[in-house]
C-alpha cells in the first residue's frame, strides 16, 4: 500500500480558518454573531487519509464547506496545491471544485430524484466540459460506476435514485465525484446515514482509492472506529476549535486532551479492533 510520507507536499491547507455566522438587520447592522469555526488549521498531504472527528455541532461540516468556498470565511486562508484561494475569482473556485470533491452525509437528499444515475454522474462532466463526446463521457461514467462497485454499469445507468438502496446511492455519489478525477475527496460523514452492515464496503472504497490512485481524503466523522481503521492522522474538533491532532494510533492510544479522552471513552462500547484502547 502506498503510504503517505510526512514529507509529501500538502495538498489542502486550511490556515487559521475562522467562520462566524452573522445575523444582520436589513440595513447591514450586525445583530448577532456566533463563532462556528475558531482558528482551525488543517493539512491534508498527497495520498493521505485524514479524519476530522468531533461531536455534532462542533463545526466540522462548516469547516469543509468553507474549504470549498460554499461558506464565506471570516478570517484565515485556504491553500490548495500551494495556491492561496484568497481573492480568487469564480473561475479559480470552479476549478477548485473539480479538483476537490465533496461527498455528502445523506445520499438520498443529495441526489436529485428526477435524474437518472447517468445524468447524476454526468452532471459534473457537463459543468466542467470534460469528455470530448457523448461516447467518451459514457465510457468515463461506466468506468466510475465500475470502480465503486455498481456493476454492470449498464444495469444502473437508467435508474432513478429511489430505486437504489442507501449504500448504492452513496456509491453513485462517490462515482459522480470520481468521474471528475479529483485530487482530494472530502467525505462529510459518508456512512453515518447508512446501515452498519454496508458501512465497511463504503469505507473500503476510500482505502482502495488511496491504494490504487493515491487519492487523498479528508473524512469528517463522529464515528471513531471508522477513523481509527482508515485514517493516517486525525484532528479532534470541539466547539469550533482543534483540540488535538496527530497520527491516528498515537492519538487513540494516548489522548492528551480531556475531550479526546471523553470521546474515546464514549466509543469504547464499540469495537476499536486490532489493539486494545486504554
Amino acid at each position: 500500500m502506498m503510504r503517505a510520507q510526512a514529507s509529501a507536499p500538502p495538498l489542502l491547507e486550511l490556515r487559521h480558518l475562522r467562520v462566524n455566522f452573522v445575523e444582520q438587520s436589513l440595513f447591514g447592522r450586525t445583530l448577532n454573531e456566533v463563532s462556528a469555526v475558531d482558528d482551525v488549521s488543517i493539512e491534508v498531504r498527497q495520498g493521505e487519509i485524514v479524519a476530522l472527528i468531533g461531536a455534532s455541532g462542533s463545526g466540522k461540516t462548516t469547516t469543509v464547506r468553507a474549504a470549498l468556498g460554499l461558506q464565506p470565511v471570516t478570517a484565515g486562508e485556504i491553500v490548495f496545491s500551494g495556491r492561496p484561494m484568497t481573492g480568487m475569482g469564480p473561475r479559480e473556485w470552479k476549478d477548485l471544485r473539480r479538483r476537490m470533491q465533496l461527498i455528502f452525509q445523506d445520499p438520498t437528499e443529495a441526489l436529485n430524484p428526477r435524474m437518472t444515475v447517468e445524468e447524476i454522474v454526468m452532471e459534473g462532466l457537463l459543468i466542467h466540459r470534460l469528455g470530448e463526446n457523448p461516447s467518451r463521457r459514457r465510457e468515463m461514467i461506466e468506468e466510475a460506476l465500475g470502480f465503486v462497485g455498481l456493476t454492470p454499469p449498464g444495469h444502473f445507468l437508467r435508474r432513478h435514485p429511489h430505486t437504489l438502496s442507501g449504500g448504492q446511492r452513496q456509491r453513485v455519489a462517490i462515482a459522480a465525484a470520481l468521474v471528475l478525477s479529483p485530487e482530494l475527496l472530502i467525505a462529510d460523514e459518508p456512512v453515518s446515514m447508512l446501515d452498519p452492515s454496508i458501512r465497511a464496503g463504503i469505507l473500503d472504497l476510500f482505502a482502495r482509492l488511496r491504494a490504487e490512485r493515491g487519492m487523498s481524503t479528508l473524512m469528517v466523522t463522529h464515528d471513531l472506529p471508522s477513523a481509527y481503521h482508515l485514517a493516517d492522522r486525525v484532528y479532534v474538533m470541539n466547539r469550533g476549535r482543534i483540540v488535538e491532532e496527530g497520527p491516528t494510533k498515537q492519538v487513540f492510544r494516548s489522548p492528551s486532551h480531556d475531550y479526546t479522552k471523553a470521546l474515546i471513552r464514549a466509543a469504547s462500547g464499540q469495537t476499536l479492533a486490532d489493539g486494545p484502547v486504554p
Binding site: 436589513l26 470549498l68 460554499l70 469564480p90 473556485w93 470552479k94 476549478d95 471544485r97 473539480r98 470533491q101 465533496l102 455528502f104 445523506d106 438520498t108 437528499e109 443529495a110 441526489l111 436529485n112 430524484p113 428526477r114 435524474m115 452532471e123 459534473g124 459543468i127 466542467h128 432513478h160 429511489h162 455519489a173 459522480a176 471528475l180
Partner: protein, 308 residues
C-alpha cells in the same frame, strides 16, 4: 428514508414524491374534452363565414325555434351564431392574459425565490401590492388612459393576475434551492444558470401547469366582467359583450332568457373545466394529497395491529 411515524403507526414518507408518469383522472379527461370542444367551436367561429344575419325588426327577441336554436336578439339576429363567433375573442383573451400572467409571475417568482436579500424583499412587496389592487377600478383606470381594445385587455388582466403565480412559484423555488442536491451541484462547481435549469425549473414547471389553468379561468371571468362594463372596446363580439348588450337592451324584461343565459353558461362551463384541470393536475403531480390521508384514515387500525 426520511419519514415520520403517524400516531396510527403508519410511516408517512416526507421524501419528495417519486418521479412518475402523469396519470389523469376522469375529471381531467372531462375538462380536456370540454376545452377541446370549445376550442373547435372558437376556431369555427373565427374561420367559417358565419353571419348572424341583418337587422330584422320582425324577429326582435324571437324565441328559439328549429331553425334558430337560441332565438334572436334585440335586433333580430341569431344568438347561436353570435355565441359561436364570440367564443374566439373570449378564449384568446383568456389564454393570452393567462400566458402574460404566468410569464411575468413565473419570471419574477423564480427571481424572488432564488435571490435572497433585498431583491426578494422588493419583489415580495410588489406582489403584495398587486394582490390588494382592486381589479375592476384598476382596469377601468388603465383602459381610460390607454383606451379600450383587446390587446390592452390582455395586458391589464395579465397585470392583475401575475402576483398569485409569482407567490406560488417563489415559495416553491425558495424551498427547492435549499435542497441538498442544489448544494451538491454548487459543490460540483455549477453556476446559477445550470442550477436554475437543471434543478429548480423541473420543480416549478408542474406548478405552472396548475396555476396556469387557474389563471385562464380567472382571466376569462375578469374579461367578461370588464367587457360587461364596456372596457373591451366596440366592434368586438364576445361572451362578455353579449351579456352587456343583453343587459343594456332589457333582454330580461322581454323574457328573452336565450340572449343572457347561453353566454353566461359558456363562461361557467369553460371556467369549471379549467378548475377541474387544475385540480386533477395538482392531484396527479402531488400524490401526497391523496395517498397520505387515505392510508391513515382507512387502514390505520389494521396496519397498526399488524405492525405491532
Amino acid at each position: 428514508m426520511s419519514g415520520i411515524i403517524e400516531p396510527s403507526g403508519i410511516a408517512v414518507s416526507l421524501a419528495e414524491p417519486e418521479p412518475r408518469r402523469l396519470r389523469l383522472d376522469a375529471k381531467a379527461i372531462a375538462a380536456i374534452v370540454i376545452l377541446v370542444v370549445f376550442a373547435l367551436v372558437a376556431l369555427a367561429g373565427r374561420f367559417l363565414p358565419l353571419d348572424p344575419g341583418a337587422i330584422d325588426v320582425t324577429k326582435i327577441f324571437a324565441p328559439p325555434s328549429a331553425s334558430h336554436w337560441l332565438g334572436h336578439d334585440d335586433a333580430g339576429r341569431d344568438v347561436l351564431i353570435q355565441l359561436v363567433i364570440g367564443a374566439w375573442p373570449s378564449l384568446v383573451v383568456g389564454l393570452s392574459a393567462a400566458a402574460v400572467a404566468v410569464l411575468i409571475g413565473g419570471t419574477l417568482g423564480v427571481l424572488a425565490g432564488y435571490s435572497r436579500g433585498w431583491l426578494d424583499l422588493v419583489l415580495l412587496r410588489l406582489m403584495d401590492y398587486f394582490i390588494v389592487v382592486p381589479a375592476l377600478p384598476f382596469a377601468m383606470v388603465i383602459t381610460a388612459i390607454w383606451g379600450p381594445g383587446l390587446g390592452h385587455l390582455i395586458i391589464v388582466i395579465g397585470i392583475l393576475l401575475w402576483s398569485t403565480t409569482a407567490r406560488v412559484v417563489r415559495a416553491q423555488v425558495k424551498s427547492g434551492r435549499e435542497r441538498l442536491y442544489v448544494q451538491r451541484a454548487q459543490a460540483l462547481g455549477a453556476g446559477h444558470l445550470h442550477i436554475l435549469l437543471r434543478h429548480i425549473l423541473p420543480q416549478v414547471i408542474p406548478l405552472i401547469g396548475t396555476t396556469g389553468s387557474l389563471a385562464v379561468a380567472l382571466a376569462i371571468l375578469t374579461q367578461a366582467a370588464l367587457e360587461f362594463f364596456g372596457l373591451a372596446g366596440t366592434g368586438v363580439l364576445s361572451w362578455g359583450t353579449m351579456i352587456r348588450f343583453a343587459f343594456q337592451r332589457d333582454a330580461m324584461l322581454n323574457d328573452a332568457w336565450w340572449f343572457v343565459v347561453p353566454p353566461g353558461l359558456c363562461i361557467c362551463i369553460v371556467i369549471t373545466a379549467c378548475y377541474w384541470l387544475a385540480q386533477s393536475l395538482e392531484k396527479a403531480l402531488n400524490p401526497r394529497l391523496s395517498t397520505t390521508d387515505l392510508r391513515v384514515r382507512s387502514f390505520s387500525l389494521r396496519s397498526a395491529r399488524e405492525g405491532a
